[in-house]
């Protein structure tokens, strides 16, 4: 700011149920850049925020999972469009958060935008790839199709604050799940800003809910929550992952274990695994009778 004008600072808020509430705890924590310079305050989410986010995600599940795959693709593509328009904002936030050069931060943001596009194209194809007819030995038409698991708790990667975040959130919602996302604990600002894009991208409120705060503190009630169907442990270290996986067993959540941190290369083109991890296969049997024997022979 070379001129005398005092800039307007942003108050970062949570994104829950399509709205931007402050934390129920009324508390915030300081977010700094890689050089420990203060960037902003972020809400310190409590277990009640986690609870509210699950309620919002559950409420949104019926509509989002029931939307056509084409519609979900349109919405995901819209997210990419909105991000493209605010590219510079994310570039700055990612550079600050991860201590990256402008060029490296740009690569991260561009890859993240492209990732939304990639998953936008998957929404109406994944069923054809992982579902299909089964040739059962009998007079039945038998079809397996994938369905979203439900409400997925997502622990976003701790290091890759934006590309990593998008890489774990997009596949969850592309297939019709709804998500409660815990942002990177150290670098939550790009995640919290993402809420602003999601809110203006025709994504129904509650489909993605974003919480910031202490990962372990927020994750524990989510892993134990009986109305959460699955958990992605991408942002958990080994000890936390084990603890959460044990808690998740109480209602047999689907658990996607964390990749070893060193191997996490979020820039590589993903496979379908992050989608299939949160899909159920439903198989429906239908009898196929004969048309009926007919005809005279005399």
């Amino acid at each position: 700011m070379s001129d005398a004008r005092l800039s307007v600072l942003k108050t970062y808020k949570l994104y829950v149920g399509g709205k931007f509430p402050r934390s129920e705890s009324g508390r915030v924590y300081e977010v700094t850049d890689s050089k420990q310079n203060w960037l902003a305050n972020a809400p310190l989410s409590s277990r009640k925020d986690a609870r509210d986010a699950v309620v919002a995600a559950r409420k949104a599940f019926g509509g989002w999972s029931g939307a056509t795959a084409y519609n979900r693709g349109q919405v995901l593509y819209r997210i990419a469009e909105m991000l493209e328009g605010r590219r510079d904002q994310y570039l700055a936030e990612v550079a600050d958060a991860e201590g990256l050069s402008k060029a490296k931060a740009a690569a991260q943001v561009d890859a993240a935008i492209d990732r939304w596009v990639w998953y936008a194209g998957w929404t109406d194809k994944i069923a054809q790839v992982v579902g299909g007819g089964n040739p059962v030995a009998g007079p039945f038409f038998n079809l397996s199709s994938p369905e979203p698991t439900g409400v997925v708790a997502v622990l976003a990667p701790q290091k890759s604050s934006f590309l990593g975040l998008v890489s774990v959130v997009a596949p969850v919602v592309a297939t019709g799940n709804t998500a409660v996302v815990i942002a990177s604990e150290r670098s939550p600002l790009p995640a919290l800003s993402l809420g602003e894009v999601l809110a203006t991208s025709d994504l129904p409120g509650g489909v993605v809910n974003i919480l910031s705060g202490r990962t372990a503190e927020i994750a524990a009630p989510l892993a134990a929550h009986q109305d959460v169907n699955a958990i992605d442990l991408a942002g958990a270290d080994e000890a936390l992952a084990k603890e959460l996986e044990i808690a998740a067993a109480d209602n047999l959540k689907r658990v996607l274990r964390p990749q070893p941190v060193d191997e996490a290369d979020w820039s590589a083109t993903p496979g379908t695994e992050r989608m299939t991890a949160f899909l159920e296969t439903k198989t429906v049997w239908h009898p196929t009778g004969a048309l009926g024997a007919s005809g005279s022979s005399y």
Binding site: V129, V130, G132, N134, P135, V136, A137, G138, F140, N142, S144, T149, N229, E238, A241, K242, E245, I246, A248, A249, D250, N251, L252, R254, V255, R257, G271, E273, E280, T281, K282, T283, V284, W285, H286, P287
Partner: protein, 500 residues
């Protein structure tokens, strides 16, 4: 109960048009027992480890009985931790060569096994009926054909894994520790072992404590097929052996079929490890009958849904949701149909309902049924004489059941049907989904669009429309929610055993 009593006499105007016939004598089906001579059960069996039958390290044994007579069939070695460790080590040793075999060669072993099962199917059916208590009609017409079909199906995959949609050259996981239940002993073995071997894993399998025999006969089939030592190991024993197997640090894959409670325990055990886990657990399947259903077929489907294998089926249609407008008519038909069910000697070819698998299971069914009565549901069973020895429970249905009743929520795993009503399709779906389970459901209506709409909304892994309890090796099977995760059968079933 069997044979069916004559319906109450009705006025017969036709009799005025012709001579009144003499009353018909009952058509009693004379006993038609399947010969037991076809199977030769040894007085004792060891553990099958590294291609050999061996005693348990501590020499412990347990008895297995025929649930229909309580006769002791044989004595079986009881595996301890040391035995499980020995079996895992054998499987580990065998893994390197087995996984390196060309897929086509692994396939041929599986084809061999499938063929031998077909050849010996009558023997195995009789054995299964003796050890499990289920009717020979089921082991002969359902269990054994499906067992052979499952091996045939996965045999064909062994050299085609590149085309299965899991990337080029997908790799096996290593040693699979598999724990199976007593309700379909050999079929559950097939569901576990066939895909594991086809994908190049080696196996340590623990059959259920009350039904160890068919797995031990299968061990013999492996030897006859020339399967390399250590590729399949069978450790018999109780829950402790199962726990030791799933907790073993050198097991790469855990597959379990059984109760949800044990499933959760296993999930906690493998937490924080790199073991891949699939669970096929309990259910409380809703069988939804709409007022435009093909009623006679619906009645058959309801009967098949809850009385197949004495209701000891995880995907049983244990909750009948019937549209109020056809409730009375359907219940009349259902009750009339239940009077024709024949309960008794499982080896009799005309038996529909066999014995409950164990005294323990019988006690559980009895307690839950009593609780249903205590909570105010109306209990009904056809007139039914139960044999003196063995474990028996009459086919039972409860009416006036609501979602709040224990018998509408807890898995009974027995021949007990809870009847609830609904008024509209969305109410039916809401009630059907109102359970922590999500394994199976049935829909009965002649309206095609309603089938699709309802099937789409049901949160269950297997849905049968206008049919029930159909199984096929090509068709993925498995649950939503607390019914477990992962699929068995079909292309989907390969994923559980591949490093993908």
């Amino acid at each position: 109960m069997a044979p069916a009593p004559a319906p109450a006499s009705t006025p017969d105007p036709a009799a005025t048009r012709a001579a009144t016939p003499a009353p018909a004598p009952a058509f009693d089906y004379a006993p038609a027992p399947e010969s037991r001579a076809v199977v030769d059960i040894a007085p004792s069996y060891g553990l099958f480890i590294d291609g050999e039958f061996t005693e348990a390290a501590d020499g412990k044994v347990f008895k297995t009985v025929s649930p229909s007579t309580e006769e002791v069939l044989s004595e079986v070695a009881e595996a301890g931790e040391a035995d499980v460790d020995r079996a895992v080590k054998a499987a580990r040793r065998a893994f390197e060569k087995w996984s390196a075999l060309p897929g086509a060669e692994r396939a041929k072993y599986l084809f061999r096994i499938a063929r031998i099962i077909q050849e010996r199917s009558r023997e195995l059916a009789v054995l299964e009926t003796l050890d499990n208590g289920k009717p020979i009609r089921e082991t002969r017409d359902a269990d054994l054909p499906l067992v052979a079909a499952h091996f045939f199906y996965y045999a064909g995959w062994a050299d085609k894994l590149d085309h299965a949609g899991y990337g080029p050259d997908p790799r096996p996981l290593g040693v699979a520790g598999q724990v199976i239940p007593w309700n379909f002993p050999l079929l559950m073995l097939a569901w576990k072992i066939a895909p594991a071997l086809a994908t190049g894993n080696t196996v340590v399998l623990k059959p259920a404590e009350t039904t160890p025999l068919s797995a031990l006969f299968f061990a013999d089939i492996c030897r006859r097929a020339g399967l390399p030592k250590g590729v399949v190991n069978i450790v018999t024993g109780d829950g402790r052996a199962g726990a030791a197997l799933t907790a073993h640090p050198d097991v790469n894959k855990v597959a379990f079929t059984g109760s949800t409670a044990v499933g959760k325990q296993i999930a906690r055990t493998v937490a924080g490890t790199r073991k891949k886990l699939t669970l096929e657990l309990g259910g409380k399947g809703a069988n939804i009958v709409f007022d435009d259903a093909p009623i006679d077929q619906a009645v058959e489907g309801i009967v098949n849904g809850i009385f197949f294998n004495q209701g000891q089926v995880c995907c049983a249609g244990s909750r009948l949701l019937v549209q109020e407008s056809v409730h009375d008519e359907l219940l009349d038909s259902l009750k009339r149909r239940l009077t024709t069910l024949r309960l008794g000697d499982p080896l009799d070819k005309n038996t529909d309902i066999g014995a409950i698998n164990s005294a323990e299971q019988l006690a559980r069914i009895t307690a839950l049924a009593d609780q249903g009565e205590a909570e105010g549901a109306e209990r009904w069973s056809p007139v039914c004489e139960l044999p003196e020895n063995g474990y028996w429970f009459a086919p039972t249905l409860f009416t006036n059941v609501t979602q709040a009743h224990t018998i509408a929520r807890d898995e009974i795993f027995g021949p007990v049907l809870s009847v609830l009503t609904f008024r509209t399709p969305d109410e039916a779906v809401a009630k059907a989904n109102n359970t922590p389970y999500g394994l199976s459901a049935g829909i009965w209506t002649e309206k095609g669009s309603r089938i699709l709409a309802v099937a789409n909304k049901l949160r269950a892994g297997v849905i049968w429309s206008n049919t029930f309890n159909k199984f096929d090796p090509t068709s993925p099977f498995g649950g939503y929610k607390e019914s477990g995760f992962g699929r068995e059968g079909g292309r989907h079933g390969l994923e559980a055993y591949l490093d993908v």
